[in-house]
Symmetry: C2
Subunit: 254 residues, 2 copies
Amino acid sequence: MDGSAFWPGKRETMQRYFTDEKLSIGEIFTASADDTHHMKNVMRFRPGDAFHMVDGSRHTFLCEITSAGETVECRPLELVEEAPELPVDITVYCPLLKGEKFDWMIQKATELGAHAFSIYDADRSIVKLDEKKRRKRIERYMKIIREASEQSRRQHIPEIDFVPAVKELSLDAFDHVLFAYEGNASTPAASLNETLQALSGGDRIAFIFGPEGGFSEAETEALSSHNSIRLGPRILRAETAPLYALSAISATFE
Amino acid sequence: MDGSAFWPGKRETMQRYFTDEKLSIGEIFTASADDTHHMKNVMRFRPGDAFHMVDGSRHTFLCEITSAGETVECRPLELVEEAPELPVDITVYCPLLKGEKFDWMIQKATELGAHAFSIYDADRSIVKLDEKKRRKRIERYMKIIREASEQSRRQHIPEIDFVPAVKELSLDAFDHVLFAYEGNASTPAASLNETLQALSGGDRIAFIFGPEGGFSEAETEALSSHNSIRLGPRILRAETAPLYALSAISATFE
């Protein structure tokens, strides 16, 4: 670590990019069209300037610009030792939220280490979109997520997709399914802290959060075989609850 | 608890107001001008309708409307058993942030249990305000904080004020002073989790967060006798760091 603050002290932190390619030290590669634009027009990089590139194997390389003309050529110089990913994979299940709240939530949740996002159809969802609008939204969300991944120095860019309603979700691939719900007589809630003790490194967790109006009775019934989790004694807004959970998980495991 | 979700399921949760008066069961009181407006024009309350009122001793009463004319008269019916306040008092020290980020931060930090906010002058602060604008800002911030306190069902409304630069801060009244900084050779950082083990219920904590560009060297030097705390391995934006800390503290203590 270079002693910089947590937040983007641009003067102090290294610009970060992502590629699906696998890089090797010394082997020159050509930057993608998007990165070329950013390198030339935003960063105004010139030969000799340095940046970080995370490759398709989630290794981070310190790279230098070797030439910056029509295309930008770069050379990986050394491997960067870092472990920015949460040791458990958290997929955040959340319906769309009103206004900019969903944008804000996915940006913050990406900073806080979410592994993926699944946007489900909640019974009380206020926002409904047709297929065409959904595709456009995914493009916009991926831009937010990608930028937040670069800024927070992650090695993994979370994926985001639309999924069906709660009772039709396929959750079998997860080691744990948790949902943020205060509980009632038939589904008493556990505290998050207690629940975290049962998780192990590498576990895949689906964490399901409700819309502004909360889960419907049918949804809590459909989720009743899973673990309902209390997120403290205050009432959190829909967009705050995932951030609380991810922060607590990070503080416990990292 | 009534089995409602964490977020404002308006149909399911009780409207909450605050008063500096001390209430007693059975003793009728008159709602304030602001609350009267909200009760009549937003909630459309009529005699017999119920709400929660937190009084000057931070006791929460279930109340009913007894008459709703020019003024609204209310009767406390019973004390509500609840403990929505963090067991440690966290004062969030943070400079103003660009655009709507500061508004977002104080809203979320209020939901997450912050006790107070102190806006300090950071060396790298981007936003600077004169005295008149500061007074207007405090009014706006108090509105955000008050609404977030009501919505999240708190018993305490955090205060907010402008304070001087880091090296002139009076921090003697606090039991612990923490600052969110990754550390360097002269001020190695502790993990938040380790640090939380040293806190006891009732402790007063100043938690100092930097601006977008991070602390200056002079600031980290001025803070070097206090505890620098790492907030996980990812780079959090300035407005995210306080939310991470408060969430982790809540998950540990509540």
